[in-house]
Amino acid sequence: MKKLAVFFCVVFLCGCASTKTMLEPPYSDPSVSVEQKLEEIGLTKTPITDPKVYYDGNAWMERVKTLVSNAKKYVILTSFLASDSDECKDLYHVIVDKANEGVPVYFLVDGIGLFDMTESRFHLVPLTYLNDTPVHFMEFSPMSTARFVSLGNMLYRYHQKVVIIDGETMAIGGMNLNYISVGAKGKDLQRDSMYEFHSPQAIKEFVSWFIDWWNSNSWDRIAPDAFPVDMEYDKNKQWQDAWFVNQIPGHDTLAETYGALIASAKESVEILPFLPALDGNMKKAISDAIARGVKVSMVISYDPRTADRWMYLPLLEMGVQMRLETGKSDLGLLHEKLMVVDGRYVVFGSSNFNYRSMTLSYESAMVLSDMTVAANIQQHFQTLFDNATTVSLDEARKWQTVDKYLMHLIMTVGG
C-alpha cells in the first residue's frame, strides 16, 4: 500500500509545473534583446493590426453579437466561465441562430463554469442545452466525481477567452461570456478588457492547435481544413510587431515570456495581475528588476474575498509601487490582466500574473511591441493607479493572518 501511495504522489507531482525557467538564461539575461528571447522561447512573430480595446463588458457583448451575426465561414468562441442568463440570452440566441444557418460554430468552455461562485450563480443558466442545437459545444474537463480519477489533471483548467470569426478577426482578453463579465449592469459588471484585431498568422497558429486539441478531447471531430485562414487578409494595413503565446498547462512558454520581458525591463513595468499569487521565482523576477532600478507598479483589485491580501506585504517589501482599489465606488471588480514594459511592450490576454496562469491553465496572450498603443494603455493603467489607494506596511502586516494565508494557498492553485 505504501508503494501505491508513493506512486500516486509521484503521478500527482509530475503533473505540477514550475516557473523556474523564467529565471534562467537567456530569458533572464538583460543583454539579450526581447526579440531574441521570444524567438528562443519558440514564439513566432504574428503581426497584428492596431487592436481595438473594449473595456466595457456590455459593449463587448454587443460586439460579439455583431461579429457572430456577420460571420460567413465559421465561428470559434472559447471562454473559461460561460453561462446563459436573462441578460445574456440575446447573445446565445445569436450564436444558436448562426449555427442554425449552417455556419459552423465551435464553442469551448471550461467544465468549472457550472460551479461559478461569482454573482453569476444567481443568474446562471447552464449551456448544456447547446448540445441540442447545431452548435459544436464542448466542456473541458467536466467536474464530476468520476473525473477525480484523473488526479492532479483536474487542476488544469481552460482559461482562454478567444473569439475567431471567419479566419479574419480575432479577439483575446479577460472577459468571459457570462453574467458578470458581459451581461450585468452597474457594480455587478466586472471591469475587464478584450482586444480585437486582425492577424492571419496568430489565427492560423491558434486554429492549427485548436483542431488537434479539440479532436483529442471530443468525438465531434473537426476536419483539418475546417478553418481556412486568408493569409493575404488586410495585406495593405499597417501591422505591429507581436507574438502570440498559446500557453498549455505544464509548459513554460508563458512563464518564460513574462520572465524574458521583466528581465529586459530598463525603466518601468506596470502590471494588473488580478489575483497575484506569485511563487518564489515570480517574486525573484520582480525583485531582480527592482534591484536594477526598474520601477514596478501594480494595481490590486478590491476582491471582497480578500484572497489576494496575503501577497500585499511581500510585494510592498520588495519595493513594488502597490495600489489597492478601494471597493467603495460604483465600479465593479477589476478583472483585467495586463503588463506594460518600458512603455513599449504590452502583454494582454487571459493570463493573470500568478502561478496558476503560468503553469496550470490554458492561456492566450499577445506580446505587442508598439509605443503608441503602449502609451494609451499606460494612460489607462495610470488612471486606475491614481484612483486606487496606498496601503501602509503596518496595514499590510495586519493581513498576515492564518486565514489569509490559507486563502492565498487556495488561490495559488485554484485561482
Partner: protein, 171 residues
C-alpha cells in the same frame, strides 16, 4: 526473444501506431469477486494502452493489479492480470447520452487475459474472461459499470463484478 528485443519491439509498436489521439491511460475500479477459497471486495488499478481508434473491434491492452479485503477483513493482493479488450463497436446514437455533458460514445467491450492468483498461499495461473456491457467513452475518459468477469484456474471457475471502472487517458 530477449528482454532487450522485447523492449525495443514495444517501443517500436508505440511509435508505429500513433493512430489514436490518446493512447495511454490508467483506470480505477471497485468491485468484488468470489473464489473458492475466499471472497474479495476492493479495487484494482489498471494501465491501459489503446493504439487505435477503430469504430469496430477496437483493441486495447491493460495490465492490472487488484487489491481487496478478504472475508476476514485482511487487505490482500489477490491477483495480477494482463487483459486484451476489444470494443465491439462505437456509436454516438444511444439512449444514455444524458450521462455526460459532452458527446459520449457507447462502446461495449469483451476481454480475455491471463491472471496470476495468490489465493490460499499458492501462486497459480488463471484464464480471465471479462465483459463490459455498459461501457461509455470520450476520447479522454471511459466509464464502465456492472462489468462481470470470470476466472478459470486449477480450482475451477470463479467470478466477480467490477461495479464501476473509470479510465483516464492521459497521453
Amino acid at each position: 526473444m530477449g528482454r532487450k528485443n522485447f523492449a525495443c519491439t514495444l517501443v517500436l509498436l508505440v511509435f508505429l501506431f500513433p493512430l489514436s489521439a490518446r493512447q495511454f491511460g490508467y483506470s480505477l475500479s471497485y468491485g468484488g469477486e468470489r473464489v473458492k477459497t475466499s471472497s474479495y471486495v476492493g479495487s484494482s488499478l489498471r494501465f491501459v494502452w489503446e493504439p487505435f481508434e477503430w469504430d469496430h473491434f477496437n483493441p486495447s491492452v491493460g495490465g492490472e493489479v487488484s487489491f481487496g479485503f478478504d472475508t476476514e477483513g485482511v487487505l490482500r493482493i489477490p491477483s495480477n492480470s494482463i487483459v486484451c479488450n476489444v470494443d465491439l463497436f462505437r456509436t454516438l446514437d444511444h439512449p444514455f447520452w444524458f450521462i455526460a455533458h459532452n458527446k459520449i460514445a457507447y462502446d461495449p467491450s469483451i476481454g480475455i487475459g491471463v491472471q496470476v492468483r495468490y489465493d490460499g498461499g499458492l501462486v497459480r495461473p488463471a484464464l480471465y474472461l471479462a465483459a463490459s456491457p455498459l461501457k461509455f467513452s470520450q476520447p479522454d475518459f471511459w466509464y464502465e459499470a456492472l462489468s462481470p468477469f470470470f476466472i478459470y484456474s486449477s480450482e475451477g471457475w470463479s467470478w466477480g463484478v467490477a461495479l464501476f471502472r473509470f479510465t483516464y487517458m492521459f497521453l
